[in-house]
Symmetry: C2
Subunit: 200 residues, 2 copies
């Protein structure tokens, strides 16, 4: 039966299937799309894949992904060198940059504390964060981990580690998403919004 599917096709379907959120159906749809698309589409994807790992590394200061070390943010003279936003993943840096309202530095933990998945503080870049704070220029550490169990645990651990350093420690506000509808907000978020209510 499988004679109808040549080996190179199966191989690409399998390779696509290893990506998160790509099932066998999507994988074959992508493969057959590429078969019909101009060669350039698959060649540029193949090149980009090779160059991704060859040309990128982690910034030795903030551990974000970068071509040059230190990264563009860490080496930018215009950034505020007294503030660090601590995030779980490189994608979170992107999200904060997109707001256009943060001009400090970053620190990428590469995960969150998660006993279930066997990830403790030593698997994350927390020691390096403490070292950065020890070096003295930092006035505020904004903990921007995800609002959830693992993000909360990570935030609490970092807070305890940094408390003796006398640095200001803040965390992103939790509350109603802008444009959301009170009626549809989950009760944990609503409780947070109540607790964190602001004086007008």
């Amino acid at each position: 039966m499988s004679k109808a599917v040549p080996e190179p096709v199966t191989r690409l379907v399998d390779a696509f299937s290893r990506l998160p959120g790509v099932g066998p159906k999507t994988a074959s749809r992508l493969t057959y799309f590429l078969l019909r698309a101009p060669d350039e589409v698959s060649v540029s994807l193949a090149d980009a894949l090779r160059e991704l790992k060859e040309q990128t590394k982690f910034c030795s200061v903030c551990f974000n992904i970068t071509v040059d070390d230190p990264c563009g943010v860490c080496s930018d003279a215009r950034r505020d060198k007294t503030t660090i936003a601590v995030v779980e993943e490189p994608l979170d840096v992107l999200a904060l940059e997109r707001t256009g309202s943060y001009s400090g530095l970053y620190h990428v933990l590469h995960g969150a504390i998660s006993p279930v998945n066997g990830i403790g503080p030593d698997e994350l870049r927390i020691r390096e964060l403490v070292t950065r704070v020890n070096q003295g220029d930092i006035l505020e550490v904004i903990i921007a981990t995800n609002p959830g169990l693992e993000g909360d645990a990570t935030a609490m651990y970092i807070q305890r580690e940094l408390l003796p350093k006398g640095v200001k420690i803040t965390r992103l506000a939790r509350g109603l998403p802008v444009g959301g509808d009170l009626e549809y907000v989950d009760s944990v978020t609503l409780t947070r919004a109540l607790q964190g209510r602001n004086l007008l």
Copy 2:
């Protein structure tokens, strides 16, 4: 702002975004997954992409995708050489092979007649189908184009072309999907199921 995203990352995000059904969000999720995944995952995907076009071609008989020409189906002595199933895409061959209940040959049109998209009969492999039928061994042509406007137009065109050849021309039955619920079936399908009702 974009300094936070190194060039190789942007390039891969862009390359992924060119795939159908992959938006910018999915593209960056895939890219950041690959950054953390073992090198082997992105390398095997890159290799498979290169080999896809290098090692495959269209079968000169049925125009399915293949490594060897003629393809595994066309050169298989055990297949019924008197029947051709005409399909729009190589993926449709897969679907029919998966049923395990078809043992004839195929003919892949690589599309369907679609005036809106500027695809006429000459853009499809219809002339080659007529040539195959002219060669004489074919007793039945099963038109397995999609059940829709374009598939119907293509089926009608092929039927008209093959009518003078005296070959049996059939089309896949349209009706209720097995496991479906009458209540939720659209009325066009239900009309087809009524028209095509079978004597018990």
